[in-house]
């Protein structure tokens, strides 16, 4: 059966609409579970088709292997976040705040957010890509500000304003590319497939300028330093399932947009210029993240800075630009999304059990809140690039390619910063998880909650992380290689 690319949007949009008539919180939760499972099934089905057959563009939409890769990651994280949200919202209800309206609003926005993120991978058109990325900001703004107190509102305000202004610059870059295309006869189109085909003929000066604006813009959304100011606030203040989506899925979407522009620019202005830009952003992000992780006091903000670090590492990989490095970048995109998603979901469990975000006030989590503590510890090991997690091979691949590419000093600096971050993350999290278990065991699941709600969402994400760390199936290997070709412009 041949499904069109837009069918990927049907499940999340229909689910968001059906919430309006869902009678009770339990019905909302059940609907969300089935809706996100359906979205994942459609993504996986389309991904299989996209890998097997060459993609055909229709109505400005297209799903190629690279887009399919992102779509599967996004819908997988949405499923886990949707499962984890039930416990989060029930915890809020005990304080007497959210009503059925809050459940509907939260889940409705969550699925609209999912739909906007799934529009990103199927856009064949740089304009639609931009509209989709801007829509992700707008649909998630009220999720970030869900708590409505001053901190949440501050975070939401910064998030919308900074990301919108960043994206305005990305649109300016897109318009410049359009102008370059119009001058060399691409025509009135913004299809990136047409741009990749015409790239060698475009005016390199305009493409350079347009590329810089695009990276500046989508880089703001991806949280690259020094444009990351919104990121720790939004990820720290948002409800934890939303933080998991922001960090694992949304940053991946923004980085995906950067990779699309890379594919066009690399054929026009050459890898040397791009390499310098990406290395600069990458090293800046690693250098900003390292001290903030070391001095972190709030564990959700610490995880947020770890996202800045990983986006920086992905940029370094793009800067190296060899096919093997891009292969590593793509593997790392999934690995980071899965690890960060499970880290935020289990951090949400810790927050619920200990009622504090302060690292210093959480001790002995492994004994007092075993499920969340275990997965937080495991996910942190994954985030630091420990075997057997998939981040280990991907980081090794990127770093070793860095040394091979001849930028020994820069690669050594990146490796040193990663080591500092590794030490910082492990120091904080081992204090939280292993420290003295002074105090009673905290009833983690809460009255009326089931244990699987704590265990299943992070476990869903950690399992593939471990599998990919130990074994990369042949089909997956070919998928990654095909995508590396697309990012390098000859796919």
């Amino acid at each position: 059966m041949n499904l069109p690319a837009w069918s990927i949007l049907v499940a999340p949009i229909a689910t968001a609409g059906l919430f309006l008539i869902a009678p009770s919180p339990a019905a909302v939760a059940r609907l969300s579970r089935w809706g996100s499972a359906a979205a994942l099934a459609v993504s996986a089905w389309l991904a299989r088709a996209a890998i097997e057959r060459p993609a055909v563009s229709s109505h400005g939409l297209l799903l190629d292997p690279l887009g399919a890769y992102l779509a599967v990651l996004v819908s997988f994280l949405v499923l886990a976040a949707s499962l984890a949200s039930e416990r989060f919202l029930r915890g809020e209800t005990e304080d007497g705040k959210p009503s059925i309206a809050a459940w509907r609003a939260y889940y409705g926005l969550l699925h609209l957010f999912a739909a906007s993120m799934l529009l990103v991978p199927i856009a064949d058109n740089l304009g639609i890509l931009w509209v989709a990325v801007e829509a992700t900001t707008l649909s998630s703004a009220f999720l970030v500000g869900f708590h409505r107190h001053r901190h949440a509102l501050e975070a939401a305000w910064k998030y919308v304003v900074l990301c919108s202004v960043g994206l305005a610059f990305a649109l300016f870059g897109t318009i410049l590319l359009h102008e370059a295309g119009a001058r060399s006869g691409v025509g009135a189109t913004l299809d990136w497939t047409a741009f990749v085909a015409a790239a060698p003929r475009l005016d390199p000066r305009i493409v350079k300028l347009g590329f810089l604006f695009a990276v500046l813009g989508y880089g703001t959304k991806a949280g690259l330093a020094p444009l990351h100011a919104w990121l720790p606030d939004a990820h720290g203040q948002a409800p934890s399932p939303v933080s998991a989506l922001l960090s694992g899925a949304l940053l991946s979407c923004a980085f995906y947009a950067v990779m699309r522009f890379h594919a066009i620019a690399v054929l026009c202005v050459g890898p040397h210029f791009l390499g310098r830009v990406f290395w600069a952003f990458g090293l800046a992000s690693l250098a900003i993240a390292a001290p903030f992780i070391l001095i972190a006091r709030d564990y959700k903000r610490m995880l947020a800075y770890s996202s800045v670090e990983h986006m920086g590492l992905l940029c370094v990989g793009l800067g190296i630009g060899s096919p093997a490095a891009i292969y590593g970048v793509l593997l790392h995109l999934w690995a980071h999304g899965l690890a960060k998603g499970s880290a935020f979901l289990s951090a949400g469990g810790i927050l619920e059990a200990f009622k504090t975000r302060r690292i210093a006030r959480v001790t002995g989590a492994l004994a007092r809140a075993p499920a969340s503590g275990f997965f937080l510890f495991a996910a942190t090991l994954g985030l630091s690039g420990f075997p057997p997690f998939a981040t280990f091979p991907s980081e090794m691949l990127i770093l070793s390619q860095g040394f091979r590419s001849g930028r020994a000093a820069a690669s050594a600096a990146a490796a040193a910063l990663l080591a500092v971050i590794f030490a910082g993350l492990l120091h904080h999290v081992s204090r939280m998880c292993l420290g003295r278990a002074s105090g009673p065991s905290l009833e983690e699941a809460g009255p009326g909650a089931r244990l699987w709600e704590t265990v299943l969402p992070p476990a869903l994400l950690v399992a593939p992380l471990v599998v990919l760390g130990c074994w990369i199936p042949g089909g997956f290997d070919r998928w990654l290689s095909a995508m590396a070709g697309i990012v390098l412009g000859h796919g």
């Binding site: 707008l138 409505r148 501050e154 305000w157």
Partner: protein, 219 residues
């Protein structure tokens, strides 16, 4: 050819007036005046789009220009005007940078933009001039966002950045596919709605929309 130069001349004139509006926004102390300056700027740019449409003779362009005037000249100022109404009673917090210095910065942005884009002129100098103006407006919008403290002014700065994009699209003769242009207009409308709601919620919690007080999240 005569008609064509007349057309570009009228577009250039309208764009110059739009730039003057942006300088006005840098200078006005009263946010409501700035809001009116923004509305005037949007209408002027909408008229420029009309002028382009009458030259190109494309009905879709006419519709798009009308949509731009309607949304940005009337709907958006009305939404933000309500948000301003809610927060209007208090005294305006003084900006981070003095007003004359802001004007000077605006002039600096214009020079910088022409210097950056100038070398790209090639055989389409009008487009390059449009890009330079677009970049100027975007920088001035950014400047309004960082130098003013009111949430409303920050939202207006963002809208000036967006008007800069409109000029950029104008410079390419609105060659982008229509679905993209409509998507942009829709996104703008939703963004203003979101910002308006956030402004009134911030005002409800802080009893002020001074963003300098949104400074608790650190480290």
């Amino acid at each position: 050819m005569g008609a064509l130069t007349d057309m570009t001349r009228s577009i250039a004139f309208l764009c110059a007036l739009a730039l003057a509006c942006a300088f006005g926004m840098l200078a006005f102390r009263n946010p409501r005046l700035s809001l009116r300056a923004y509305a005037a700027q949007s209408i002027l740019l909408g008229l420029a789009a009309f002028s382009l449409a009458s030259g190109a003779g494309e009905p879709a362009l006419w519709a798009f220009a009308a949509l731009a005037v309607l949304i940005k000249g009337f709907v958006v100022p009305a939404i933000l005007g309500q948000a301003a109404e809610a927060s209007g009673s208090e005294r305006a917090p003084s900006p981070f940078v003095s007003y004359p210095l802001s004007m000077l910065a605006g002039a600096g942005f214009a020079l910088l933009s022409y210097a950056v884009v100038g070398p790209l002129a090639g055989e389409r100098p009008a487009a390059a001039r449009g890009f330079a103006l677009a970049l100027t407006l975007m920088q001035m919008g950014l400047w309004i966002m960082v130098s003013r403290r009111r949430a409303l002014m920050q939202a207006l700065g963002l809208l000036v950045v967006e008007n800069g994009l409109f000029v950029a699209a104008l410079a390419t003769g609105f060659g982008m596919p229509m679905v993209v242009e409509l998507g942009l207009a829709f996104d703008l409308l939703v963004a203003v709605g979101v910002l308006g709601i956030l402004i009134s919620r911030i005002h409800g919690v802080l009893s002020s929309a001074d963003t300098a007080r949104l400074n608790r999240l650190r480290g």
